[in-house]
Symmetry: C2
Subunit: 325 residues, 2 copies
C-alpha cells in the first residue's frame, strides 16, 4: 500500500469484518486512521464493540472507532444474526471491551479526516454504504478529497446472497449504494463474483485453532458458526467466502485482480425482484471490455483463488501488531 | 420429439427465427400446427411475410401463419432493424411471398388449437411473450390445455443484450413475460447463458453458401448482416449466437441440456436499470440446485456447444422438406 495512504475502514463487524481488520492490522505498513461502523451484520453499536475487541486483541486501541448509521435511508434495518451470530461474532459471547467508541458520528469523522488529509484517505467500505452516502451529502467535495474507495459489495454474473440477484451490503441500502457508486470518485468494487471464489475452509480453521495464538484462537472461534451457515446455505460443505478480507487485501494492493474491468455500474432501487442488485455493464466481456471513458468503477470479477491460505498465513504470523496480542 | 405433439411456433421472424423454422421444417418427424407472429426483430406483419417466404421456400405453405401483437402491453414497440435488417431478413430484399397470413389473430389461434388438441400442443416462443400473455388472458385454462412451453429468452448469469442485464425478448414486454412465467405451466426457458455459447461462424456461413441449395443459399444470405452485427457488438469476430434455433432444437428434444435446473423465475417490471431482467434463483448452484417444489420453469444454463455444426448439417441436408426447396 502506498505509504502516504490512510485507511478508514467502514464496517459492520461481523465475522469477516473482524478477519479483514486483523488482516490489515497484521501489516505494519498499513495505516488505519479510524474504523467507522454501520448496521448490517449486526447493529452499529455492537459492531463498534466488536471492533474495539479486535483492536484490543492486538494492542491497537489507539485507533478511534466511530459509530454510524442505525438503519438504511428508508429507516429500515436488516441484520444477519443467522450468519454472524446474535453478538456479531459467531455467538462467542466475548467479555465487553475495556475501551469505548468516540462520540463523533461516523459520517462526520469520514468528512473531517478527508478534509484534514486531502488526497490521502482510502475508504474501505465492507458494510452497507449508508455512512459513505451520508458523508457525501455532508461534504459534496468528498469525491475530490478522497484518494480511493474500495467496496465489498454487489453480485454481477454470480447469484446474490440475500435475494436471487442482490448481495447483502448493497441490498441493505440500495439508495445509499446508488449515491456512492454515482459519486464519480474512483471506486474498486469487490462483488460476490470474486469473494465467493476465495474461500476459507474447515481445514484452515483447524490450522488457526492449532496455531493457538490469541488472534488465531479468536478467529478459529468466530469462524465456527460462519462455516456452519455457509455449509447449509451456500457451499454444502464447511467453507466460507472471504468477502471482507479479500476487499481489504485488494485495497492495500496485496491481491492483484486477474479480471477487473472499469464499467458503468448502477443499482436497482425499485421495489421489484431485482431491488438492491448492482447492474454492471459487462456486455463487452467477449471483446476484452473496450474502454468506457465515463465509467469510474472498477469491478473485480476474478482473483487467483489462493487468498484463503494467504489470509490464514497472516493470522498465524508473528508480525508486531498481531504478536502484541 | 414425441409423435403426438403439435408445435405452435410464436416468432418475430427475424434472421434466427428463420433458421429455427428451417431447422424444424427439416425434420419430417416434427409437426408444426401453425406459426404466429409478434413484434420484436421486426413488426408482426413483416414477420408474417418472412415466415411465409420461409414456408414457401420448403414447399410448406400448408402451415397457417397468424399475425399477432403490434406492440407490448404498455403500447410501445421496439424493433431491431440494426440486428435483423429493415426487412427482418438481413436486408436481402426478397420478393413478396405468394401466400398470405390467415385472418385469425395469433392469440385466438393459440387458444383455439390448444382447445382442439388438449394436452398435445407445445408452444415454442422465440419472440416477445405478448401473444402468449394475451392467450392466457383469453383462456385461463390454457396452462392445463398446453403440454409444454419452450421460450427463448432471458439472461441469468450472462449479461443481457439490450441492456446490461436484460435480453431482448423479455425486455421487449416484461409485463407479458411475467404473466407467462408465472402461469404455472411447465416451461423450458433458454436464455443467453446457453444461446451465446452456441455460435454459428463465418466459416459455417461459407459452407452454407457453397452448398448452394435454395435453403442453404437463403440462410447464408440472411446471415451476412447478422454476423456483422455480432462481430461489432458482441464477439469481436464474425460469429453469431444461435438463439432461436437452439430453443427449437431443445423443444423437440434434439439438444439435451447439460445443466437445466428447475428454479423460481420472475421478471423485473419496474422502470429502473434492471427492467426486463429475468430474476432466476440460482443460489443453489454450489449444492446441485436442491429441488424446489413450487418452481415450474426449467432454465437451460448449459448445452454442449456443438449445435452450430448440427444446425448447418441440417440446413445442408436433403431431408424431404428441405429438399423440396
Amino acid at each position: 500500500m502506498a505509504s502516504e495512504e490512510t485507511l478508514i475502514v467502514d464496517c459492520d463487524t461481523g465475522i469477516d469484518d473482524a478477519l479483514a481488520l486483523l488482516y490489515l492490522l497484521g501489516d505494519p505498513g498499513v495505516r488505519i486512521g479510524a474504523v467507522t461502523t454501520v448496521f448490517g451484520n449486526t447493529d452499529p453499536g455492537t459492531a463498534a464493540l466488536n471492533t474495539l475487541r479486535v483492536l484490543e486483541l492486538v494492542g491497537r486501541s489507539d485507533i478511534p472507532v466511530a459509530v454510524g448509521a442505525e438503519h438504511d435511508r428508508r429507516g429500515n434495518r436488516h441484520l444477519a444474526p443467522d450468519v454472524h451470530g446474535a453478538d456479531g461474532l459467531g455467538n462467542t459471547d466475548l467479555p465487553a471491551p475495556r475501551t469505548s467508541p468516540i462520540a463523533e458520528p461516523a459520517a462526520e469523522l469520514i468528512v473531517r479526516m478527508a478534509r484534514e488529509n486531502p488526497g490521502t484517505v482510502h475508504l474501505l467500505a465492507v458494510g452497507p454504504l449508508t455512512n459513505l452516502a451520508a458523508a457525501l451529502q455532508l461534504e459534496p467535495e468528498l469525491p475530490r478529497l478522497v484518494k480511493h474507495v474500495t467496496i465489498m459489495g454487489g453480485a454481477m454474473l454470480h447469484p446474490g446472497n440475500v435475494t436471487p440477484v442482490a448481495e447483502a451490503n448493497i441490498s441493505n441500502d440500495p439508495e445509499a449504494a446508488r449515491i456512492v457508486l454515482r459519486a464519480g470518485w474512483p471506486v474498486t468494487l469487490v462483488p460476490l463474483d470474486a469473494t465467493m471464489t476465495e474461500a476459507i475452509t474447515e481445514e484452515q480453521r483447524r490450522r488457526l485453532a492449532e496455531f493457538g495464538s490469541p488472534v488465531a484462537t479468536f478467529t478459529a472461534a468466530i469462524l465456527d458458526l460462519y462455516l456452519d451457515f455457509y455449509a447449509r446455505h451456500a457451499f454444502g460443505e464447511r467453507k466460507a467466502a472471504c468477502h471482507d478480507p479479500l476487499a481489504a487485501a485488494i485495497a492495500v494492493g496485496d491481491v492483484e485482480p486477474l479480471l477487473a474491468p472499469v464499467v458503468p455500474v448502477d443499482v436497482e432501487t425499485g421495489d421489484g425482484p431485482a431491488r438492491g442488485m448492482t447492474v454492471a455493464d459487462l456486455r463487452g466481456q467477449y471483446r476484452g471490455f473496450p474502454e468506457n471513458g465515463a465509467a469510474t468503477v472498477r469491478v473485480v470479477l476474478e482473483t487467483d483463488r489462493t487468498f484463503g491460505d494467504r489470509l490464514v498465513d497472516r493470522l498465524c504470523s508473528d508480525v508486531p501488531n498481531l504478536g502484541a496480542a
